[in-house]
Structures are given as C-alpha cells and as structure tokens.
C-alpha cells in the first residue's frame, strides 16, 4: 500500500480528518501537535511511558488462545486480552500517554468527556497518578445509568459535571468538554478518549493505542509462527480497533471493524456510521456521521454505551474508503449472545463492546471455517461493568418467556 503515510501535516487521512474547531483553539492544537511530535522522538518520554505501561497498567497483556471457542467453531481464535489492563479496558493506554504529555506541556488541569464512564475512569486514574486535577463531562442520562462509574471517578479525586444539553449522552458531553476547553485553553489539557477530534488527536490516540497491535503481532508470531488471517475489533469511535489494526496495516491480514447495529440498521436505532457512510463534520474532524438531511446530528443507539456515538474516527473512514479494512455490524441481540458465549466457552466475561467482535466471529463462522482462518479478536475490555445491565435484560426476557 503506497498511500499509508497518514495523516499529512494538516491532519488529513485522504479527505477525512482535519481541524474543524473555533479559532480560539487553533493555537492550542498546533502547540499540542508540536509537543506530541517532540515527545514521540524523545527517548526519555518513550521510556517513561513504557515503564508506566509495564509497571502500572500491567502490560504486555496476554494473548490467549480461545481453545473451546476454537473447537466449537472449527478454526483458530486468539484473544488479545486488553480486559486485563488496570481499570479493565484499553482506554488507559491512551490516558496515561496523554496525561504524561499534559504534564510535559506544563498544563495543570485535565478535562475529558465520557460516555459510560470508562474513559472518565481511565482519565481520572492517570490524573491521580500524576497529582493533576481532572474534571470529567458526562451526559446526565449516563450519570443516571452509570452511578457506580461516577462514584469511581470521585474516589479517584476527579469532579464529574453532569451535562443537561442535547441528548444528554456522550455527544453532548463532548460538546461541553470542548466548550470548557475553549474557555480555559491556556492551562487546560483536553484528554480525548478515542481516535476522534481535531488533528493531532486521531493520530496521537492511534499511536498510544498501537501498543495493542505491536504486542499482538509479536505474540502471535511467537506462538504460531504466522500472522493471523483476520483481526476483528469493535468500532465506536474506534480506538481499540485502530490500536490493533495499525501495526498490521502493511500485512496481508484482513482487518474487520464491527460496528453496533443496535436494534437493526433499518430501525434507525443504531450506531453504525460506516455502514451508512455519510460524510460529515463533528467534534473537530470530517468523517462519517449519523445525520439527517439537514446535517443535524442524529442520536446513536447501542446496547453498549461505549459504542453509542454518532461518528467514527477519520482514519477508519479512510480505511473504509480505500478498502483497507472491512466494516460490518452486529445487533444488540447478537452482541448479547456473544457476551454469554464467551463467558461459557472461555471463562471470560467480555465488555458488551468487545462482545460485538466476538459475535461477528460467531456469525461469520462458516466462511471463516472454510477459509481456515486464524482469527485475532481484540478483547478490548472486561464485562464487569455490564453484568448488572445484562442481568436486567436477561431477567426481563426470561420473565417475558414465562
């Protein structure tokens, strides 16, 4: 692939990406771009990050062969165990990197948006580690649904702002975080949680999350002597998927991003922006968006709060446009089934987000079996946070059945 050196200096992945933010923030993202590029070349920064990832986050995370799942489906399946990270998901790979950069830039105040609270918890954790003040924006709907994560953030010393505007979910929390950033730009570092936002965020978050793919590539080569044939990961904003895809981008490996089809693509209640593939501009970059005929952003829906976002990172839009990755979607019901199956097969309860990747592998099993596939699934997080929700959903269903 010849066109893989992206983004360019303007933050473009082909036609996607860019910096669509108020002029007030332009000097800040320029400063961030310079600081990040300098840090990336600085052996001291790299060493400190590597040490923290090893000794604090618990990396490298294992690569586990999913033996019973492999036997049941008739082809080889490996799991990259991001669920075993400190705080229970891949999110912390990025927040440690960004907060380390914030400290290096002399920023004293950290802000972040969060949906279900995973990125908020990971940001609060990193801020606590460095003794920095963190303020987390969270939609009031999510604050209600995720009371425990709100309390977790508070335990970690962060303050949580409940956002009442718009749909009161992740999209609006992001708007409010950007408004805070515009207001306090001189001393505040905005820790974005996915490969979204204005340049350099999509590139920077991708780089911080690429540790997943770099480790997995070495691990699977060491274990099997071969590359996987397929890599499967869920896509909301797309940070865990880009993190595992990116180091394999030049390999002969099929990259499969699984979006949330919610109650079905036809229902209108889903979060599958790449399936719809309507270009649009939100939260600082040009990518695919769920929107109406006037360009008004439409609310997303997914059983999994982490995928419940109406956009997607610009590099995924680019991968879709050039055909480097294939994007598919599974419904809430299929994801729920994947959640149960992995728990029973492997003794691993996946996050509902990651269960989407598992569910697609189950759904595509016939093709994968025929292809003698060697599948690598990015198990981006653990399902402890979702147990209560699934308990209620299953309870409702078994109740209805009787």
């Amino acid at each position: 692939m010849a066109t893989m050196r992206v983004p360019d200096r303007q933050g473009r992945f082909g036609s996607f990406g860019g910096r669509y933010i108020p002029e007030t923030l332009m000097p800040a993202v320029d400063e961030l771009d310079r600081a990040y590029r300098a840090a990336r070349r600085d052996p001291g920064f790299k060493q400190e990050l590597a040490t923290l990832l090893k000794e604090y986050v618990g990396r490298p995370t294992p690569l586990t062969r999913a033996s019973r799942m492999s036997d049941a489906l008739g082809f080889d399946i490996y799991l990259k165990r991001e669920d075993l990270n400190h705080t229970g998901a891949h999110k912390i790979n990025n927040t440690i990197g960004q907060v380390l950069l914030a400290r290096r830039m002399g920023k004293t105040r950290i802000i972040a948006e969060t949906g279900a609270g995973q990125h908020g918890v990971a940001t609060a954790t990193a801020a606590a580690l460095f003794g920095l003040r963190a303020e987390i924006y969270m939609g009031s709907e999510d604050v209600k649904r995720q009371a425990l994560n709100v309390y977790r953030m508070k335990l970690l010393g962060a303050s949580v702002h409940s956002v009442e505007s718009g749909t009161r979910t992740l999209k609006d929390a992001t708007n409010e975080a950007i408004r805070d950033w515009v207001t306090n730009v001189r001393d505040t570092f905005y820790v974005i949680g996915s490969v979204v936002g204005p340049h350099p965020y999509p590139m920077m978050v991708r780089d911080f999350q690429s540790v997943i793919g770099r480790e997995a590539r070495q691990q699977i080569l060491r274990t099997t002597g071969q590359l996987p044939t397929h890599i499967v990961a869920c896509v909301g904003g797309g940070s865990n998927s880009m993190g595992i895809f990116y180091p394999f981008r030049r390999d002969l490996v099929q990259l499969i991003g699984v979006e949330a089809a919610g109650e079905g693509l036809d229902s209108g209640r889903h979060a599958a922006s790449i399936q719809i593939a309507q270009p649009g501009i939100l939260h600082g970059s040009l990518s695919y968006l769920l929107q109406d005929e006037d360009g008004q952003i439409q609310p997303a829906h997914s059983i999994s709060a982490g995928l419940d976002y109406p956009g997607v990172g610009p590099e995924h839009a680019y991968f879709h446009a050039i055909g480097r990755a294939q994007y598919v979607a599974v419904t809430d019901a299929e994801a729920l089934q994947g959640f149960h199956q992995l728990a029973e097969w492997e003794g691993i309860i996946p996050a509902l987000e990651s269960a989407h990747a598992v569910a697609w592998v189950i759904k595509a099993q016939d093709d994968l079996r025929r292809a003698k596939a060697r599948v690598l699934i990015n198990l981006s997080g653990r399902g402890d946070k979702d147990v209560e929700q699934v308990f209620e959903l299953d309870g409702r269903q078994s109740h209805a059945a009787h």
Partner: protein
Amino acid sequence: MRRIEEAFQEAKQQNRAALITYITAGYPNLEILPNLVRALSEAGSDIIEIGIPFSDPLADGPVLQRAATVALNRGARVSKILAAVEGFAADAAPLVFLTYINPVFHYGVGRFAQDAVQAGIQGLIIPDLPWVEGRELRTAAEASRIAVIPLVAPTSTDAHLRAIGRARGFVYAVSLTGVTGVRKVVDAGVRPLVERIRHFTRLPIAVGFGIATPEQAHEVGEVADGVIVGSALVDVLTHNPGREEEAAFRFVHDLSQAVKNITTKA
C-alpha cells in the same frame, strides 16, 4: 440592497459604532422571523446575523444552545430559512448567516453559497470552520460574491492575522476565550485585541461574545467599528413571549443609542 461595507461606512461617518444583532432563525418560531428582522432593522441594527440552528453548537453558551434546540424541535429547516430570508432581505439591514460547518457541508458548500446569495445573504460566519480549513468555502463564496467573515480570538497568532488580510466584509473579533453568552463585564483584553488586529487589516472590526447591555455596547464601541449582541437579545425574546417584536425593538433601540457619540475611537 444595502451592503455590509456601506453599513460600516455610514456608522463611521456618523461617529458611532455599527450595531450588529443576532437571532436564531426558528426561535421562538420561524413564522415570526420576518417581523423580528423588520423590528431589528427599524430599531437601528446596521447588520443582522441570522443563525441557522445546529444540533451541536459547540461555540455557544446555554442561551443559544437552547434557542437552537427549540428551533430544531419546531421544525426549522435550512430550506425553509432560505425561503423566509428571500422574502424580506431586500427591505432589511444587510444580512449574514451564522451557522456551523456541518449543515453547510451537508448542503454542499458551493450550492449553499449560491443559494444564500440568491436569498439575499451577504456574508457567512462559521465558528467551527477555522481559516485554514476554509479554502473550499472561500473559493465558492468568491464565485457567488458572498463574504466569509474571518474570526479572530484572543489566542490567535500573527500568522492567522496575516492570513485574513485579504478577507472581505469585516473581522469578527471574539472578545474572550469562551463561548457565547452574557457576561457581567467586558473582557479587559478587548482593546489590545482590536488594536492588534488593526495592525494587520483595514477591514472593519466588530467585537462579539459576552456583550449584553447598552453600557457594554458603548464601551466596546469606543474601541471597535462594530458591536455584536446575540445571547442578550435572544434572552429578551425568551422573556417576552407573545410580544417578541416589541421587546426586541426596544432592546435594540437602546443599544443603537448606546453606540452613538463615540468619543475616543482608536
């Protein structure tokens, strides 16, 4: 039709600052828009900004966020707004659109510029389209003879100020780091900001964000060529249900008196 340039020239000749008022199209409803614009024109607005509501207005504070939500819920659509504007533009003060980039991008940048001009719009203000990302819109705007109004923030670099040197219309100076909305005092940075911008451009400079009262309008008018009032006017509409036009007229009339008799123009 009166032009933006003429509005600033006339104000200057009369030794006052130009008054620029903002309302969100569709708030409190779209039917009232023509009468509101007439009231604003007659009350002394030199230029009127018409906001096209967007679902995710990240440069706006609570007042304009709420106005956008109400307008969208009541069915404000780009096509309906264009049609309404076409009906009154000829008789109104010079009109500009203020909106976010996605509705424009989705409509098609070139087609939007064309249709806006067709409706009688003379300028576009897009707070989430920084100058460096605006080349396509500027090309389309140049072809359609519509001004893309550059924004300057307190944090803006000299490179940005140089880049907007060839802009048309006026410079929109953002008075503070923050979002739109009423503030108690005018930011102390306004005067140095305006003076700094003057080194780089001969365009008129209008200051917006946070200006709410006649006193504040006067204070800013002493420094800048134009004073922009938005949230405070929308607040007036909110607090005067059923008598929006009358209330808007009175509020804007007071503002227009306040920007007269400027003594210490820089």
